[in-house]
Amino acid sequence: MKQLLNLYFLFFKISLFTFGGGYAMVPLFQSELVTKHQFLSLDAFANMVALAQMTPGPIGMNSATYIGYDQAGVLGAFLATLGVVTPSLVLTMAAAAGINRWKNSPALKAALSGIRPAVLGLIAAAVIFFAEASVFETPLCFLWQKSQNFCLCWQGIVIFAAVIAVELTIKPNLIITVAGAGALGWLLGLV
């Protein structure tokens, strides 16, 4: 019971501090789920986000359902997802009720003028995190901790470059890009 409530409030908290949705959530999830609560390892976390990206639905909700299920079964999945939804439900309805006052509030505008660039920083940090889990085979901080070997994963680099090239030129549907990258990963793995 306590575990279920904890799950609910954990995801409530993450959702409450997510601005801009999607990828901005990755560092929040990482600090709460991996660093603080140690629900899963870094690798498992990266795979979880990959799975959330590959499956239908918003990344945040997919991740909540997955972690909730992993920790406490179907009920855990339900409460974790509910936790993600609750702040939206309450705050958005409150804002919708006073939509004009909300839109023009100077304090809100000021706070957001700081939060927006921070969200950009969050997303950039998510790039590093995923680079560490694909292009590099080690966390980047090992670069200056000389004790560790630093290695690059060539398959990751090839796929990364291919996706950038495809996205800048053909811009296919995201499903196709992600599925293609998965297939390429499998093919390169055979080499």
Binding site: V74, L89, T92, K109, G121, I128, G156, I159, L188
Partner: protein, 218 residues
Amino acid sequence: MTSNNPTPPARPDDTPEAAKPHPEQVPLMQRLRVLFWVFLGISAFSLGGGLAMLPIMSREFVSKRHWLTDDDMVDSVAVMQSLPGIIATNMAVLIGWRIAGIPGALAATAGVFLPPFVVILVIAALFRQLTGNPAVDDIFLGVRAAICALILLTAVKLGRQILKGAYEIVVAFLSFVILAFSPVDAIWVIILAGLSGLAMAIIPALRLKKTQTGAKTP
């Protein structure tokens, strides 16, 4: 995967030139049903979510049913972007609330909630058995590399919009460094950034400095 394909809510009820938005004329239950199915479809088919859902919403609620105007959509996006939470749910609550009050918000949210919930439950059960399989690991390596590239592109696009002055660059850079290379909680970065925004607005001296440094630093 599962059979949650939304039956497309395609009752062609677009009487041309239906008078401006009057969703009240449609029975509540029908509005709730449409909200539920449209948002279920949006949630089921938006991989990664985000603003990709906007065209679908505007087709369903503005051009097809005349329940909202384009201005309503623009307003909703502006409010939604200033609220925390998942974009799809925020949008569901806002649009649902406008079309059918609190029941509408709940119906639309339920629509967003259901597809990920069902699909992930099915996959999560399978997923744990799949990891460790070398082929699956290779596929996931590919997907992680793709996500890395996709997030990078998102960051570049956002950066072009957001990084207008020295203040924005400093905040973005500091948050990035703190998050990527220190164990500080992401939540604290958001809180501090919000406070710094407030401080910039409240303290005129800071604002003065901002314009100066903005002029000086490249």
